[in-house]
């Protein structure tokens, strides 16, 4: 077996061949004979009462097959929230119905209230323009503070725009307040975590099909988790038995969170396919993606950090308003709460933490998890206020962090925010960072920049995140309405090739290459003989999908467990073949041998025998070699890292340029360094985008004014530097079989505060008394702050 394909090596990705030759199969690439096309009619106002919808002209237009409005779905279910959050007073969150099509009211620009099905997409578009809706525009609720104090409600039936008012941990509140009151020093910071649009490059698309002969529905859709989508549509929205709905998520062009969720378009194409007896397809335009994909972040926060006179952290207290938009997307309620508040102790031994989050309905697109999901918001608040505190106390920002780090001998460590960190070594990460970032050379580089008339700043950050989502026991107590295990089936074919069916979905993460490395190592076989199957509810056992940096830690662990079962079954077969006791069979390097002898059979011989079971004792030994495992993690995993960057700021224009960026991460054991590095790069690109470029802006009327790539500043190649990435500081996860922690979100979590800290450092070095600038740090914002 080639050594360069083992765990820890970086074999080239096998999936690249089809993508590089134009043979990927994304949802919109798949055509089904007889297909019709759906186009949605979307609200142009942020908030309005639907008085009437006149479809009479549209329905007679060429090619039109059917028109649906909200009335057609008034009697079916809604798209549910996946996590129940209780307010501080014990009352459950407000969960207004999220219908397939808006009915009665439209609640954000882009809210679909009708759909046209026609022979061609152009005909459907033409007819959509002929639908006349009388929508009485209502005042829009856009600003969160005004939403909480005003009397215009996004959902009239709940009589408030507050979804919940959550405290974490409520029992810690008084002690936190007391610690802050009695502290020698308190640093306070008001900040905004800017609203982002995930912008996977493949727009959402869905094709519904219905077979009247069998009563089976098939949905091709852009999903990170086809089983979850099946569950939501089947059980909550359309009321279809799960065994009559097949969901296929073929190649998917990026997700970053936005394709976790079930969206109404998926239900509509299925319902339309059933009514018409034809496949119905829909592909979003980019404009529709901006208007209707779940957005990310959008927090307004005040954070306070109390310390003693030496900079030892005594308490963090935060108050946050989190925008959930017009409807609750599936994980909108857990993102600003348990994925955010539980991380508010950071990497630190701080004794007291209290977090208050008010979730607010507004007339904007739904907001949900986006790469990092709550953890970037936690890290940004913590690492910005720590940096401000360091400046106020005159302590070096790295020294201040080190002074408060959890130390290697303190694990398992229960943080003041309630999580139990299993492993880590934050000082080692910081040591590595200082080395790679060449902090000693900074002064000379700053002088060189100053000689050019530029201000240079150095920024640093430590982060911890909770990944490997998630232990079902724990999340069940906390309000999750699903379990968060994953599943895998290892099928060994008679001639020795393998199919491994996994619940995780790969849409850029490289599972098709990395999972075979793991199985091949365990079985001592060539990874080329192993095929990964994912993304089809009819072909994989079950799965909760890909998000929260969970694929390897959770689904990879299921793959390990299933492979262990294959080895165990193989031992039984080998014992029979070798006429030995099962307990005497040892398996190593692809061979089942009898301990203490040279007798043995190869893995391939056992596989063949499993399917040609002549003379098997059938009561004791089943034919076949196929095993399934469900894996439910015992705890979250806790990747951590230390990041540094250096920026140059042009004082004439306010333009920020990143000169160098170093990311040092502890992801536990690394299966494929090339893929892990690529994941970090991507996260950095998105985090730098958030820090310097991207912002989602609604005007006071709720119009999205950043709804195209001409208005929303996506990072381009010339906005970003080469990165230095290191993951050599390894403390393995202690509770999963691979010792892995997850790497998908780290870059997006660790980078924004690093950059802002660097810019503040640059400005202060130029004598500008600037202590904070809200992201994105556009030239206009930086210049304004410098010249305030």
């Amino acid at each position: 077996m080639p050594k360069d394909s083992n765990v820890g090596a970086s074999p080239k990705r096998r999936e690249d061949i089809r993508f590089l030759t134009g043979r990927g199969k994304y949802t919109d690439d798949i055509q089904i004979a007889g297909q019709a096309h759906a186009v949605f009619v979307r609200s142009q106002v942020a908030h309005g009462a639907i008085r009437s919808i006149d479809t009479s002209a549209a329905k007679d237009m060429p090619g039109v097959l059917a028109i649906f409005t909200g009335a057609d779905f008034a009697d079916v279910g809604g798209n549910p929230a996946g996590w129940l959050i209780n307010s501080r007073d014990g009352t459950p969150m407000k969960e207004p119905k999220r219908p397939v099509l808006a009915h009665g009211k439209v609640r954000h620009v882009g809210d679909a209230y009708a759909a046209v099905i026609a022979e061609t997409a152009d005909q459907a578009r033409d007819a959509a323009e002929a639908i006349v809706a009388d929508i009485e525009e209502l005042p829009a609720v856009v600003n969160m503070a005004q939403a909480l104090s005003g009397s215009t409600y996004v959902h009239d039936e709940i009589g408030t725009n507050q979804c919940f008012d959550w405290g974490w941990i409520e029992d810690n509140r008084a002690a936190t307040d007391a610690a802050i009151k009695g502290a020698a020093h308190v640093t306070t910071l008001d900040l905004v975590n800017n609203r982002l649009v995930p912008n996977a490059m493949e727009p959402r698309a869905s094709t519904g099909d219905y077979d009247p002969g069998t009563g089976e529905y098939t949905l091709h859709t852009t999903s990170q988790n086809p089983h979850l989508t099946r569950l939501l549509i089947a059980a909550f929205v359309l009321g279809i038995p799960e065994n009559k709905l097949r969901v296929i998520a073929p190649d998917v062009g990026g997700g970053f969170g936005s394709k976790i969720y079930h969206y109404g378009e998926e239900a509509l194409v299925l319902a339309a396919a059933r009514r018409l007896g034809r496949p119905v397809r829909w592909t979003a335009s980019r404009s529709e993606s901006f208007l209707t994909d779940a957005h990310g972040r959008d927090h307004v926060t005040r954070i306070e950090l109390a310390t003693d006179k030496d900079g030892h952290f005594l308490a963090f207290r935060t108050e946050t308003m989190a925008n959930v938009g017009a409807y609750l997307s599936n994980f909108a309620t857990v993102t600003p709460t348990f994925l955010h508040g539980t991380l508010m102790a950071g990497n630190y031994t701080v004794p007291h933490v209290y977090v208050n989050v008010k979730a607010v309905f507004t007339n904007t697109a739904p907001v949900d998890a986006y790469r990092g999901a709550g953890r970037p918001e936690a890290t940004f608040s913590l690492e910005r206020v720590i940096d401000k505190c360091a400046r106020e106390l005159g302590i070096d920002p790295i020294e201040l962090r080190r002074r408060n780090f959890v130390k290697p001998d303190q694990y398992p460590f229960t943080s003041a925010a309630g999580l139990q960190y299993d492993s880590g070594n934050y000082d080692a990460l910081m040591d590595k960072l200082e080395e790679l970032a060449d902090r000693n050379g900074f002064a000379a580089r700053r002088s060189a920049s100053e000689a050019k008339g530029l201000l240079r700043g150095f920024g640093v950050n430590s982060y911890i995140e909770a990944c490997g989502i998630a232990p079902s026991n724990l999340v069940g107590i906390l309000g999750a309405r699903v379990g968060l295990y994953d599943a895998a089936t290892v099928r060994v074919n008679a001639t020795g090739s393998l199919a491994v069916m996994v619940g995780a979905h790969s849409h850029g993460q490289g599972h098709e290459t990395v999972f075979p490395q793991i199985v091949a190592d365990m079985l001592g076989i060539d990874p080329a003989s192993i095929e990964i199957v994912h993304g089809d509810t009819a072909r994989i056992p079950f799965g909760m999908g890909t998000y929260g940096s969970r694929s390897l830690a959770v689904c990879g662990s299921a793959v390990v467990r299933a492979t262990e079962k294959i080895i165990a079954k193989g031992k039984k077969i080998a014992a029979h073949m070798l006429e030995a006791a099962e307990g005497d069979i040892e398996f190593a390097e692809g061979r089942f041998g009898v301990a203490g002898t040279d007798k043995g059979v190869s893995f391939g011989e056992v596989a063949f025998k499993a399917y040609v079971p002549h003379n098997f004792p059938h009561e004791a030994l089943e034919p076949g070699l196929e095993e399934t495992a469900f894996y439910d993690p015992a705890n979250f995993t806790y990747p951590s890292g230390a990041y540094a960057c250096e920026v140059e700021v042009d004082p004439e224009t306010g333009k920020v340029t990143i000169d160098r960026f170093v990311a040092v991460d502890d992801f536990g054991n690394v299966m494929n360094p090339m893929v892990v590095t690529g994941q970090v790069h991507g996260g950095l690109g998105q985090g730098i985008g958030q820090a310097l470029l991207e912002n989602t802006t609604y005007d006071a009327n709720g119009q999205l004014i950043t709804a195209s790539y001409m208005d929303y500043a996506m990072p381009r190649a010339d906005d970003l530097p080469f990165y230095t990435v290191d993951h050599s500081c390894v403390t393995p996860c202690t509770h999963n079989p691979l010792g892995v922690k997850g790497c998908g979100e780290a870059g997006a979590i660790g980078s924004p505060p690093t950059i802002v800290n660097a810019v503040i450092d640059a400005l202060q070095s130029g004598g500008k008394p600037v202590t904070h600038i809200d992201m994105p740090l556009s030239p206009a914002r930086v210049w304004a702050a410098m010249n305030a």
Binding site: T21, A200, D251, G253, R286, Q509, T677, G678, R716
Partner: protein
């Protein structure tokens, strides 16, 4: 509806299209060459870049009828004659220059146009050339590296595995 004929990846093709049919829709819909992607509706993302008479063109910005008689090359025409990956494609695989793969065809076509005019571009030149191609997965690091490697430059000094 009008008849349109062109040469795509060396093969004469024709079809009947509306005046408003975009070249990208003709390639994807009529010819079933779905490697050319549509990622936006404002000609910003570059997922649809193809070559028309040797020039890189965003196929969402051109009507199919405008390509009458043209030589069109798409991602499906970039592999070597024996089916193996072309130099740029191979460099993208070698340097992990793609993740989800959606922007990749446009990136490869754009890179090919760059290297035709500028056989040894600097990092800054590569980054500037990719202004019209958006990738959300890679942070561009490995794309830039792959293109520089495809031009025969030594990229070993650029950090990463």
């Amino acid at each position: 509806m009008t008849q349109v004929s062109m040469t795509v990846n060396g093969k004469a093709v024709s079809g009947v299209v509306e005046g408003r049919t975009l070249l990208v829709d003709f390639l994807r819909g009529n010819l079933r060459l779905t490697g050319t992607h549509v990622g936006c509706d404002t000609s910003q993302c570059g997922a649809c870049v193809v070559h028309v008479d040797g020039r890189a063109v965003k196929a969402c910005t051109m009507f199919a009828l405008e390509a009458e008689g043209a030589q069109v090359r798409t991602i499906e025409g970039m592999a070597n004659a024996d089916g193996s990956l072309g130099v740029i494609q191979q460099a993208f695989q070698d340097h992990h220059g793609l993740q989800c793969g959606f922007c990749t065809p446009g990136m490869v076509m754009s890179a090919a146009a760059l290297l035709k005019d500028n056989p040894r571009p600097t990092e800054a030149e590569v980054r500037a050339h990719l202004e019209g191609n958006i990738c959300r997965c890679t942070g561009y690091h490995n794309i830039v590296k792959a293109i520089m490697a495809a031009s025969g430059q030594d990229v070993a000094a650029i950090a990463a595995e």
